[in-house]
Symmetry: D2
Subunit: 330 residues, 4 copies
């Protein structure tokens, strides 16, 4: 790439929405890429709240040292109610101008992108989004930042639960995160040898589940792990456990909700590399006068997707994975 | 130690009650110590159930290879209702004799020891107990097998939760295991920098908790972790969270129940070494004609405590730790 | 996919060459897919050695339980000198026939595939390869099984080294594996915030390295991590450290060779899922009468690459990653 | 404890010598205990160097937030040559007075304590030492801060090596740290199921080692891990590996030097709790006018040992552990 020519001299970066592991790596990459291209970089605290309330400060290359491997986001994140109002966005724009910012980089999920899109339309603020969420539910990238770490947190937890399950001949219902999407459940379920994986994208029925548990028993399995996406429509883990206990009173049924451990932790190598790449790509994109797009990675190549496409479209659950899950649970 | 002289030629080993990390290391040590002293060793499956239903098989030194680092118990464990009946124990004794066993080694907690004690009184079966439980609630040993691993599982989980808590300015209630005892909560709470630690051994009040949260806020803390023992009498984490939300509607309060991940996982070095030492000590104790005792470690020395003392007495919560927790939460 | 029709009734599976995390997950997937499609599956021990010396046994669906998360390969692996001789391969074929095998699945790297290719040509034995190596140096797949785990092992180790480096103002040379390829070094270097990454694919010079170290110092870095691929042509870590000490006597220079820890460990989620997918794909490929190909994953889709192409061609180092590494080391 | 009365109003804290995990936890405890007792606390950078060169700043309770779980030492550490000279110590004392410090807390090993002792004698500076080293070679405490973490780093690494060793029928020599002491080698060797453990405290011979390897082979072991302390007098791992290869040309012998990964990493629960306790105890000790002592923990109780005793005496290797190692390697 040749040195880009552009009018952009100062970029603001913020993290918004739910936090995810690798956000710090992405901020670091944005800051360092700005330094590399001789652009000023300003860190905005607590997402759009920091823009509204003018909480921001310049970040030099050294200010982001030793954070590539830290979970969470040192800029903090928030869901800003005020930014949903025209008044809030006006205040945000006032501070955007006052601080002489030329563009924004927004690290977050579709809610955060929606906000940026509105802000862009109202005030013509150039911005690029970076997909940072554990849920992997953003179109325009094969993986979101934090997804791989969350998957590994899940399987390490389920490995531990399995130790206990097999020591006791137990049936475990394990709820994993993912909002309306089953990506985390499907991949972590396959990777942890779950006998069943319940995700919102598939029609599940209690009878199928019960049949499968019986089949497992007949096949000689002495314990079962059922991984359930939080968005599963058949019921939550507690309801499913109760129904199972009622149907099979002889089973020793337990429930674990993995919860917020899935949002934290040191990012994996894949998440750090992805975050590093997308952070650089976002800065370079702005310098090439791209705007209102999301920087993503598809088939290991950087792609920029129009933000409205990223918000509206959805990655589909991979049918191959559903087949693999079924085969391996035999 | 000189080669012991004894009439014991064949020892049965079982794991009973809740599983804990390091049980496999303890079984391995029992099996290898038997091999070392030219004693036969028989593995009994699923605790007392395996004795009642004659599920056991001889274990040679090689049969326990590569298990020192595996969580759970490959002999499986169970809580046997049948063993609580005289008929059950009679069946157990019949199989004990039929398999020409001379003594038992019981790895478990106080419930398991109580069963062994009754069995001993009725049938004069020599046995030694090994404390295997994550709860650390057994008298006669400074640490139980699995406790250190559970502590590390807790703090790794809470470290992850902290990433998310500090990214969002949140108050987190985290429930850890420990039955009626606060050992896990107290140590993991100190180690994870909890602002409050609620344990059954201490009288806690909602007002103190609220005051402390307010003080934390005034001291400039932007997030709080409150570690709660499952046996806490003030209420469970959900109740406490609700009360806190009611009192401080502006707080973003969340709950995580760590659950069964605390029972599994590869044992830590300390648990593997402790389990190895106690497994050897149990075999040596039987060969020295000790019986109806528990092998434990106090001040890094092996001690044998009469089983009734181990059951009835309780380790006290260390007042120094409570003080340290309070000082560090400033 | 419709139920495939084929003459294949019995498949042998082996792991060959260097071991890598996820090989067990791949074996499990092969065994379970065979069970699912009503095909017999035979596990061959120690790679081609087991074929030559007739060490194999049938594997049912339950025989591979609880191994998806275990490092190494329970079938063991070996580099067979005998299989490189016509006599050795004749013996191997004799046992192949004697055991009524119809096809082979070979999990390993290019050396193992070369052997299979010769065997195929001599005896017309149908086979499919699965890329199992930490080095990621196999054409026809974006990732090899074990690569992601090795990367994470590397960055966790380098994170620890960084703790010490920053506490002491030190320059660390860290050697990572990868044979002739720099994939592990490049990705783990980016992910661990290395100031320099030396890989065989790039021309490096001592002067550039020294300049870069000086620039780092001037930029205010108080410690540096230099990640070096084992195949780096400029010299090994010890030579590089010596040259650096000579040039900058005031530096506190240290060396760590990560070594064999990179080959072991519980596979990551990505490696487990990849191994699961490729194991199923290999069985399905054979049932669809594919042979002499490698099952791989490109852009998250299963692809079958002619084995000779997989052996001869090479994945290229991603120029984008080299650029990202350079930018972030500013 | 009643609120202590003392003339001490301002305490300086530093970390010195080799870094160890948990040093940050100890600094945090010192800082917070000072805040709790209304004493000022000053952090001195890079050990005695910071005293000599006046690099120090006041630390409030919030300044040490979120470091309890971070490896290394944020104050940095160093081995100061200048502090070994009277001139250096004079400069140090000048800055000690200029900054109105009343006492020092020195976190480090015996070299650091020796320096503090000389400083105390020359200038009558009150100080308390806290044992921070992975080597566990300090008298007056059952465990040093960092030892437990280093042990767990070792066994996690050796677990990974074992995956590879058992997949290949290999003999692995693994060098662990510990300077002249075998504590790390002995405990990590037992915990990782080593067939042999070579430590400086025991007379070892090549012939015994070879006999043992042969015995292992005859006993049916298909791989061996030999853990070697870095201070082992029989030779370093490379020499031992060469001698073994010469004696048993048929063995596949490998070497891994774990190296500096042992000094880093997030501290374990035990190290965090120990560091927290000793940090508080050091502050309280000074407030009670104790000086020239080390705060340690024996049998889980805080004890203060005269610093000269801590330096001169040595913890002995536990004979019970040596016996256990031998029995379990059968």
């Amino acid at each position: 790439m040749t040195q880009p020519t552009t009018s952009i001299q100062k970029i603001g970066v913020l993290t918004s929405g739910g936090d995810s592991p690798g956000m710090n790596s992405a901020i670091r990459a944005v800051v360092r890429a700005c330094a590399y291209y001789n652009i000023k970089c300003v860190g905005i605290r607590q997402g759009y709240e920091g823009l509204i309330h003018n909480q921001m400060s310049e970040l030099g290359a050294r200010s982001v040292k030793h954070i590539i491997n830290k979970g969470g986001t040192f800029l903090q994140t928030a869901r800003s109610e005020e930014f949903r109002t025209p008044e809030g966005r006006q205040k945000a724009f006032d501070h955007f101008k006052k601080n002489e910012l030329d563009a924004l980089i927004v690290i977050g999920g579709d809610g955060s992108f929606t906000g940026a899109n509105v802000f862009h339309k109202e005030f013509n603020v150039p911005f690029i989004g970076i997909p940072g969420t554990i849920d992997n539910d953003i179109f325009g990238t094969d993986f979101t930042i934090g997804y791989d770490t969350a998957l590994n947190t899940c399987i390490e937890a389920i490995d531990k639960i399995r130790d206990s399950a097999t020591s006791h001949n137990r049936v475990f219902f394990v709820e994993v995160m993912g909002r309306d999407a089953g990506f985390i459940a499907l991949s972590s379920g396959i990777a942890s040898g779950a006998t069943n994986i319940l995700i919102p994208e598939e029609k599940d029925s209690l009878e199928e589940l019960f049949e499968s548990l019986q089949k497992s028993e007949q096949a000689g399995k002495n314990s079962s792990i059922i991984v359930v996406a939080e968005g599963e429509e058949l019921g939550n883990v507690y309801d499913l456990a109760k129904a199972t206990e009622k149907r099979f009173p002889e089973y020793d049924v337990r429930v674990t909700v993995l919860g917020h451990i899935q949002r934290g932790g040191n990012p994996t190598c894949m998440d750090r590399v992805l975050a590093s790449r997308l952070g650089v790509a976002a800065v370079e994109g702005l310098l090439e006068n791209k705007t209102n797009v999301m920087a993503g990675s598809r088939a290991n190549k950087i792609v920029y997707t129009p933000i409205e496409e990223a918000i509206k479209k959805h990655n589909e659950i991979d049918k191959e994975l559903i087949k693999v899950a079924k085969i391996l649970a035999i």
